[in-house]
């Protein structure tokens, strides 16, 4: 079921991969990073965020790290997520697919050369 939902990979899932590629993050941090990366155009709401996380967890593309208290945030308990090697592979293949598309778009003169 989760595999069906991730094929093709939704953009929210890809953004989560990109966020987790650098470091392990909790839900709110993922949301903030996605918003910052897209200039505020993409703000993942609770449903979009946690449904995507749930699907990625079920597909074992990300995993939950042992929870720990965050000293910077009032010692609230948070769930941290990290990218699995399978997730990294899927992210890479998605990035490759997008790169191929971009190349085509550039060849068709839809995009100028400064991109990719």
């Amino acid at each position: 079921m989760a595999k069906q939902k991730l094929n093709p990979l939704p953009s929210a899932a890809f953004h989560i991969f990109l966020s987790l590629a650098g470091e392990d993050l909790h839900g709110y941090a993922i949301m903030r990073e996605v918003a910052a990366r897209t200039g505020g155009r993409m703000r993942l709401g609770p449903r979009a965020l946690y449904s995507s996380i749930q699907s990625l967890l079920e597909a074992k593309l990300i995993e939950e790290r042992d929870s720990h208290q965050d000293s910077s945030l009032n010692h609230e308990r948070r769930r941290y997520y990290r990218l699995t090697s399978a997730g990294r592979k899927v992210a890479r293949s998605e990035a490759g697919r997008l790169a191929d598309l971009l190349r085509v778009a550039r060849a068709k003169k839809i995009l100028r050369g400064e991109y990719v």
């Binding site: 079921m1 839900g27 609770p46 449903r47 979009a48 946690y50 449904s51 996380i53 609230e76 769930r79």
Partner: protein
């Protein structure tokens, strides 16, 4: 505050989402609330929340079906398990065939149930038995229940009519004593009924109420032992039998309090004492059907021989079926003076209806009908419908016998015009028959407004002189707030009782199909 609102909004999400991520979502909201201050950013936050919610709900509910399909169900031996065969949610297009199939299944079920009823009828017997309504009564109802014989339904007890109850004292000769108190013409006529009043006669077989042995001792009572015993029995009967236990307790408390105050002292006569207790009970309950009755003439309990004689009385009187005739233009005419117990008179009623089966219209003459049992009302009404109908009786909560046993195999009367003749003395079960058929638009009522005796208490004998009537149940009227109590049933065609038959015949002839 904002957090509380969001916690409420979270409840709109499906349970599986709340369970898995409810805390996370709340935490996310808290984080954003802390970080995003200022009017614009807060507005954006709430905008995000509502948009997310709106988009989410549909999506989450459709995928919750999938979650259900994937749910792990631990198997326990001997415990049935359910599997979700369809992983996709229901398509809107599937709803219509689903509805059609459900309706078809329901129709099939009702047809089968009807068939089952028909199969149980004694079809292998002669024509007369085929014509009998399918008997749904319990075995207890088909024979006189001696154990509960002391609970006698007073069919036509009207408010304030002390004399109404007096006829129920064990010997018909007591009617003369009752007669002296009669105040309404309707009940006068009823009390005038002589020893052949089998409707009442069946019911007068009473046993000493168990409540008479109960005692509610009152400290400091000024009453003599005899009256104290009656007082205790009244309280015990109220507590045991009144349909509203809370009100029964209130009444009992009030009676005891008043006795302690000495309010009962002036009531030295039995009749005054009974009237005083009646007033005190009604003051609390506002129930005019509660009554304590004193009969100056002692009425010892009926002996088994007397009871047997009373049981035989209805049959000797042809079960009050005074006339069964086929009049000109093939119009059936049945003069019925009482709706007697089907256990005794069922076969007589069945034979009467069988003899009228081929008529083109039917006139029930209830102008001299004094009431009787709701079971007989249902039995006779069964012939007039092609499907079971509820025969509302204000005295009883619905039982299986409250529905007609329609259709009666072989009956041709279900679609024939019906007329009911009434007079100002038509009362009780006869009014129930009239009222129900009028409300069901099954009969045209011709004659006078009926007497208006809808409610009744159940009779409890206390001793040879005292007894009391206690309403033990109330049924909800499906047609209106009030029934015919005190007002009577209004006829559709109002004419004097004496000319009602002529008018009904004229009406019936005008409605007959031309040949």
């Amino acid at each position: 505050m904002s957090e509380k609102i969001y916690a409420c909004l979270l409840r709109l999400y499906p349970a599986n989402f709340r369970q898995a991520h409810g805390d996370d979502a709340l935490q996310l909201f808290r984080d954003r609330l802390r970080d995003e201050t200022g009017f614009l950013r807060r507005t954006r936050l709430w905008f995000d929340i509502f948009v997310d919610l709106a988009i989410s709900l549909r999506h989450l509910y459709t995928t919750s079906q999938a979650a259900l399909a994937e749910a792990f169900v631990p198997h326990c031996a001997g415990v049935p398990r359910f599997f979700v065969l369809q992983e996709e949610p229901l398509r809107p297009g599937a709803l219509f065939p689903g509805c059609v199939l459900s309706l078809a299944a329901l129709s099939l079920l009702s047809v089968l149930l009807n068939q089952a009823d028909t199969l149980h009828s004694p079809t292998s017997h002669a024509t007369a038995s085929q014509f009998r309504p399918v008997n749904r009564q319990t075995s207890a109802a088909t024979k006189p229940d001696v154990d509960s014989a002391e609970q006698v339904v007073l069919d036509d007890a009207a408010p304030g009519e002390t004399a109404t109850f007096a006829r129920l004292f064990p010997t018909p000769t007591n009617f003369s004593a009752a007669h002296a108190d009669t105040r309404s013409s309707a009940h006068q006529a009823y009390s005038n009924a002589t020893a052949d009043d089998s409707a009442a006669a069946i019911r007068v077989f009473t046993q000493t109420s168990s409540a008479t042995t109960a005692s509610t001792s009152v400290v400091g009572s000024a009453l003599d032992p005899e009256r104290q015993r009656v007082f205790d029995a009244v309280i015990a009967n109220l507590k045991q039998h009144y349909f509203d236990p809370a009100v029964a307790r209130q009444m009992a408390d009030a009676l005891v309090a008043r006795q302690r105050r000495g309010d009962d002292a002036p009531a030295t006569q039995g009749k005054d004492f009974a009237a005083l207790l009646t007033t005190q009970m009604r003051d609390v309950s506002q129930d005019m059907h509660l009554e304590v009755v004193y009969n100056p003439k002692p009425s010892p309990q009926s002996s088994p021989e007397e009871f047997a004689r009373m049981l035989a009385a209805p049959q000797a009187d042809n079960c009050s079926l005074k006339k069964v005739q086929i009049l000109a233009h093939n119009i059936g005419y049945l003069k019925l003076d009482a709706f007697l117990d089907p256990a005794l008179c069922g076969s007589a009623a069945t034979a009467a209806m069988a003899s009228l089966n081929r008529t083109d219209a039917l006139i029930f003459d209830l102008r001299d009908n004094r009431g009787g049992t709701a079971e007989m009302v249902s039995l006779i009404s069964s012939y007039l419908f092609d499907h079971p109908e509820y025969m509302f009786d204000p005295r009883r909560v619905p039982t299986p016998q409250s529905w007609t046993s329609s259709p009666v195999p072989g009956s041709k009367l279900a679609n024939k015009a019906v007329f009911i003749l009434t007079s100002s003395t038509t009362i009780s079960a006869a009014e129930q028959f009239t009222y129900d058929l009028k409300m069901l638009k099954r009969a045209t009522i011709v004659g006078e407004t009926t007497a208006g005796g809808a409610h009744a208490g159940v009779w409890h004998r206390i001793d040879d002189h005292y007894g009391m009537a206690i309403p033990q149940s109330r049924a909800v009227n499906p047609y209106s707030k009030s029934d015919w109590e005190a007002t009577g049933v209004q006829p559709d065609i109002k004419v004097p009782a004496a000319t009602a038959l002529r008018t009904a015949l004229r009406q019936a002839q005008s409605q007959l199909p031309t040949r």
